[in-house]
Symmetry: C2
Subunit: 207 residues, 2 copies
């Protein structure tokens, strides 16, 4: 019996995507071919085609899975965040990972054929993120609607720029890069929005 | 004698560009035709063609003049600036004016045929701006090269975002919009770079 009979269809699919992901991360999108994935999985190219169709469909399935996983990770991070600063940190880290050339998402989003569906998946997520940020800010700061929108838009632009800086070269210390980005944004927010007194803050968080 | 004989070629050229500018600002690029400019100048369309060639050449000449004027205004503003904050303010205001739909530059830069040469004219200016910002920051703050580049890039991204916010709708108070943008950026810079003591600051400015 060949090895491929040992895995369930779900496990085989996951295995092939794992191999594709690892190939993209270590050798780039162009190296991720059906033949290479098949070889590493010790199966035939025909089997990979049977699971995913074309090479582009395989790459699309991988990006879809990674997008979904990453969105779950963001939601988990937000669920654990107990301050505006921690919420900002989740988004700054997410921007960094999403554009990083070292991540499969960061590389696959640059494939023209996959870009539109990737952008669609993140568009809704972006609106959700905005709501979370608005609520987290309102819990700790006094700011009218215009100021809230203003600081969140400037903060987002700063976060994306910080991710682009990291994406363009290798940042020696990811955590330090996230930290200084968060500090820049927080200082900007606090320059324009007054911090609530501690008693009012609790009230806003529990309401 | 027709009116057109009363102006020197330089004055006629300037008059036609002034009329074109006013037309773009008040009625949009598409309203700015050779015929309309000629009519407002009480000259023939042939004369306008003689001065500028095609309609697109007229628009290109207008954008070139406005770019040069605006770059002179920026340099004058920078020559008068005596603090990092004032330098930042000059660039924030420039970004705002350049993308504003109310300005001739803001509208003409959106014309595909004119975009490349406009971008070329501002590319060198951008490099000069970076040098000025680095020097002005170093005169007042202690920051290593990496931190300097980081805060200036995040600050620039914030400034461009603020300009886009203003460009997308009418901002009731231009000065207040500039002011809050400068405050956001300055706070971010000061979160990451230490302010020099006053005596060291003077030394840096006069060296």
């Amino acid at each position: 019996m060949s090895e491929r009979r040992r895995l369930s269809p779900d496990d085989r699919r996951a295995q092939l995507l794992d191999i594709a992901k690892s190939t993209v991360e270590h050798h780039g999108v162009s190296a991720c071919t059906v033949e290479r994935v098949a070889e590493h999985a010790s199966v035939t190219s025909q089997l990979v085609h049977k699971y995913f169709g074309t090479r582009m469909s395989l790459l699309g399935a991988l990006l879809e899975r990674e997008d979904a996983r990453y969105q779950s990770a963001i939601r988990a991070g937000l669920a654990e965040a107990t301050s505006f600063e921690q919420v900002v940190r989740v988004f700054v880290a997410a921007n960094l990972d999403l554009v990083s050339g070292a991540s499969a998402i960061g590389q696959l989003r640059g494939v023209p054929e996959l870009a539109d569906r990737h952008a669609d998946r993140w568009r809704g997520e972006g609106r959700g993120a905005e709501r979370v940020l608005v609520q987290a800010l309102a819990a700790e700061y006094v700011a009218d609607r215009s100021t809230t929108e203003f600081v969140l838009r400037l903060g987002s632009a700063a976060s994306i720029e910080a991710a682009d800086i990291a994406g363009a070269r290798s940042i020696p210390d990811r955590d330090a890069h996230i930290d200084r980005t968060v500090r820049f944004i927080l200082a900007g927010v606090e320059a324009l929005a007054a911090k609530r007194p501690a008693d009012q803050r609790e009230a806003a968080l529990t309401s």
